[in-house]
Symmetry: C2
Subunit: 340 residues, 2 copies
């Protein structure tokens, strides 16, 4: 009887992901960064072209809808977001999120090639570091992370430590929304970005749950009783994304993209790593050197992002950044690219 | 009979170093960098003080010999060089040499603290990267490298691949000394630095041999017939160091320290890693990910050194650099700090 119990308990724990899943997730994460990074540049090329011939998008023109370049950019972004979602379904979040740095790298390289934005010495070093840091992240990424079923995930979600995390996130969100935001949101970049990052960490976990549900339903393992749960999670994802989008736009409205990007990357990735560690206990079985290596890898990508961001500060044109007016008009995709 | 043969052959191969040796070597390498890094600053403080009261050292004054600060700097440097020599005796060269980056870090931090040389954003990022890169280097350093006896080392040294390397180094040295140096030495920083690095790689290997000899003689395992070999190696080390010192000073005479330091670090460390790989075959039994990690770690420290060097370029005062006149007068210690 006790052996059956322990089996049940074990079947509810997170299990090591297969090597194949890990590499599928890795490829999806890298290609997602490539697509998202390019999409920014394609859209920017389109908007530049339109600025020459007609009404600026920021002034209310809809000419961009007739431009095939804009649509290619839109499509590229969509493919990138899908790949990102897929990456989260296959690989650990602590691998996928830090690799978001590669999208900044791709943007920077393409911007220097197609938009003639010069990449200075700092930018070049940022590019090299971005690649080196990402390799270190991949080498030391945790491999054990997957729940065998939705039931197992839900049991884990309802344990105190995760609920405690959700409680803290809720407090952060409410405090910033109603108290800190109105007072300090326009003074300190970290205020709104903290709200986005805290919410974003839950978005990522919800997306992982959705990914699990989709994979279960494809293999026919999703019980009908779990469908309502999937619907609830889906609605939660939509809410989280709207919240993030709203507050990220507030931050981008006040601060330079070159400031917001690195701060957002650091806060968001840190919180995803924390929540992922709580939910999947992925670090428990790792060697100390691997944990240290993973921290170093993340630290290196952070420096890379700062270098890349600073390198474009002088020109005021970050490769990731469409003009602020455009962001206000159409919403920022940087948010999606980093969370879903 | 064949089993005896294979045992003999095995006893001549390099063997895994013990964990204790690895960590002793690591501690020596780190403390050596700390001592050498501080010694530059202590000497600089002394020279600054003397400049105020008397004849400048570069103008022929010997006042520095009466200054206790200068002697503390001299002593610190000596202790650092000894620790560095010890580090090579215990740990793989592919670990010790890249960690030389830490001396630049220590100099930069102390210079900003005691010499009021401001550390700009690049410098700060360089410091962080230097630490992160060094950790990655340590995590992925090869562990199997040690010859059981001087005989085993000599058998290995006389094998074609190492002799081939020595031949290439000799060609590089002769070509630069007599052909490239006089024509391009003052135009391209890489010319004289290549000579220093090529010679330096042999200095390091000779120092490892001396270290082995000293350890063997302490444990009473050094046959009397090997003593002449030790003397030859010792003389070789002296020659190599003189050659390096001469040509490094030539390079420093023409180019900024902020240019020479990173180029020298890259070339010297690369050549040490190459010769160490040839002689000790330390990479053969390593996993692909560890080799990749080691390469990334080295790459990261390279970027760190560039950032630290660039950060001080504007002030023309690299923490590693005494004034050029001082270098001409007393010889540069940067050479020793990186090779012995």
């Amino acid at each position: 009887m006790s052996s059956i119990d322990s089996t049940t308990v074990e079947s509810l724990n997170s299990i090591p992901i297969s090597e194949a899943d890990f590499y599928i997730g890795l490829c999806l994460a890298v290609s997602s960064s490539a697509f998202i990074g390019s999409s920014f540049i394609i859209k920017k090329i389109s908007l530049k072209k339109l600025n020459k011939v007609g009404l600026r998008a920021s002034a209310g023109g809809f000419g961009y809808l007739k431009d095939w370049t804009w649509w290619i950019g839109f499509l590229t972004m969509g493919v990138g977001e899908l790949a990102n979602f897929g990456a989260y379904a296959f690989a650990p979040a602590s691998l996928v999120t830090p690799l978001g740095a590669l999208s900044v790298l791709v943007s920077a390289i393409l911007a220097s090639k197609f938009l003639h934005e010069t990449l200075n010495a700092n930018g070049k070093m940022g590019c090299i570091l971005c690649i080196l840091g990402s390799i270190v992240v991949v080498i030391h990424a945790p491999h054990s992370e997957e729940f065998p079923s939705m039931d197992a995930l839900m049991v884990r979600v309802l344990e105190p430590d995760f609920l405690y995390y959700v409680f803290i996130v809720s407090v952060i969100v409410i405090v910033i929304m109603f108290f800190l935001g109105p007072r300090y949101g326009n003074k300190y970049v970290a205020v709104y970005v903290a709200l986005c990052s805290a919410t974003g960490s839950l978005t990522v976990m919800s997306c992982k749950a959705l990914g699990l549900a989709i994979r279960s339903s494809i293999s026919g393992d999703l019980p009908t009783k779990d469908v309502w749960m999937v619907i609830v999670i889906f609605c939660a994802v939509i809410c989280f994304i709207c919240l993030q989008m709203n507050y990220l736009n507030k931050a981008l409205d006040v601060f330079e993209t070159s400031i917001v990007t690195p701060v957002y990357y650091v806060m968001f990735t840190t919180m995803v790593i924390v929540v992922s560690a709580i939910l999947f206990k992925e670090w428990v079985n790792m060697e100390a050197t691997s944990v240290l290596g993973a921290i170093c890898g993340f630290g290196i990508t952070v420096v890379a992002i700062f270098l890349l961001s600073y390198s474009n500060k002088k020109t005021n044109e970050h490769p990731l950044a469409p003009s602020r007016a455009v962001i206000r008009q159409y919403g920022s995709n940087t948010l999606l690219s980093r969370t879903v």
